[in-house]
Symmetry: C2
Subunit: 108 residues, 2 copies
Amino acid sequence: MSLRSQMLKGILEGCILSIIHQQPTYGYEISVILQEYGLENISEGSIYPILLRLQKEKLIIGEMRKSESGPKRKYYQLTEDGNEALKEFYLQWEAIKNPVDNIVHQGG
Amino acid sequence: MSLRSQMLKGILEGCILSIIHQQPTYGYEISVILQEYGLENISEGSIYPILLRLQKEKLIIGEMRKSESGPKRKYYQLTEDGNEALKEFYLQWEAIKNPVDNIVHQGG
DNA sequence: ATAAGCTACCTTGTTATACAAAGTAGCTTA
DNA sequence: TAAGCTACTTTGTATAACAAGGTAGCTTAT
């Protein structure tokens, strides 16, 4: 398993919450959006299990909608608990990013 | 298991490499240094296994030295492979940090 | 002396997660 | 009718942080 895979643990979930928070969206599009943000090659094997997990934890809710082109899509949006979890992710991200940045910039 | 624990996966190892790169040091002191950087409550149950793993992968080498006060200390320093791994960590950290920051700041 | 408390190291078992790999199926276009 | 894209799902694997426990040396107060 790659270093990147390890480093993404826990982070990817928060990113997906954040993307859904911006606009209701579905799995396949999330992979495209992540790409656009620079997180390339995040496979569906990562994204869909996260969506199912988030749904199970009631942080998001899904709804099937017909597509004008292609199969039906499962659009997700955040629940109230999801908004809380997202806030918590933001806090944790800052609490990790800043120290790590300082360690990295001091050393290298 | 906490969100923070998940988010630290892979990252903590790179931080420890970076700290050892700055100056040869030992496990107990690393926990203090991490604290000072703001990564609080990183337990020895996290640090020592990482040090043993890094040593096994020949990214660091350890050497016991007497302490003027207290038990002997195992000082570690980076090997050539360790320097390579550290550079790779820096690259991966930037490759993850920037996209995640953009996702986070876009969303909220 | 001796107990308490800090320093310092190590090990075992648990839990969670990214991802590879494989499968299913609808729609469009050549 | 086949290729190729869209879109969702499931199974199994590897790995890492950490809780919890253990060992032991040194210093200081009682």
